[in-house]
């Protein structure tokens, strides 16, 4: 079964600085990978997803992620963060075979410092 690991529980970063949120996955089969964002007191919303094809995936709000099969990683990046990016970010994955339940990581809280 698919599992995902988010290595950082909190990431502080200054406004307009770049940020990388790390995610590693483990699976013996092909995978689908996602990043979701949760703003305070709200549900999760999809930032981007990787199904197949190009390893660089662009999402909403200027975020992008790169699928790296050799390192089993799917790190999320943004070249310049804004205060409004302060939120919790979840990496998620699903096996492409069998019943494809989505498994979430434990989340990374991004704190953008003015």
């Amino acid at each position: 079964a698919q599992s995902v690991t988010q290595l950082d529980s909190q990431v502080p970063v200054f406004e307009e600085a770049p940020v990388e949120l790390r995610c590693n996955y483990s699976s013996s089969v092909s995978v689908y990978l996602f990043w979701y964002v949760q703003y305070p007191n709200q549900g999760l919303q999809l930032l981007l997803k990787y199904l197949s094809g190009s390893t660089l995936v662009k999402g909403i709000n200027g975020f992008e992620a790169e699928f790296n099969k050799s390192q089993t990683s799917f790190h999320l990046r943004k070249p310049s963060v804004h205060i409004s990016d302060t939120a919790e970010y979840f990496c998620a994955g699903a096996d492409s075979g069998g019943y494809q339940k989505v498994t979430f990581g434990t989340g990374t809280k991004l704190q953008v410092i003015p």
Partner: protein, 113 residues
Amino acid sequence: DAGITQSPRHKVTETGTPVTLRCHQTENHRYMYWYRQDPGHGLRLIHYSYGVKDTDKGEVSDGYSVSRSKTEDFLLTLESATSSQTSVYFCASSYGQGEEKLFFGSGTQLSVL
């Protein structure tokens, strides 16, 4: 975006009482899910449904049951609430499985005293 509403938004209850949380979606999604969110654990799947009256267990299903009598409604019942079930509960739905985007409700904050 998909219309998914959860009710109630907040609930406080006592240990040993039954509790039912409701999820309603207006997008005719086939798949629906209940997750709980706890610090340090992220979101964990409780139960899911792949059609009317078709449900299955997730990774943390003990103490919970679900029912889906209509496409648009998915109920989560805590049969006898315990303090360990204090959590934020999220409902989600999707057109399909796996590769499909999940649409989330706004959550229910449940406190079991």
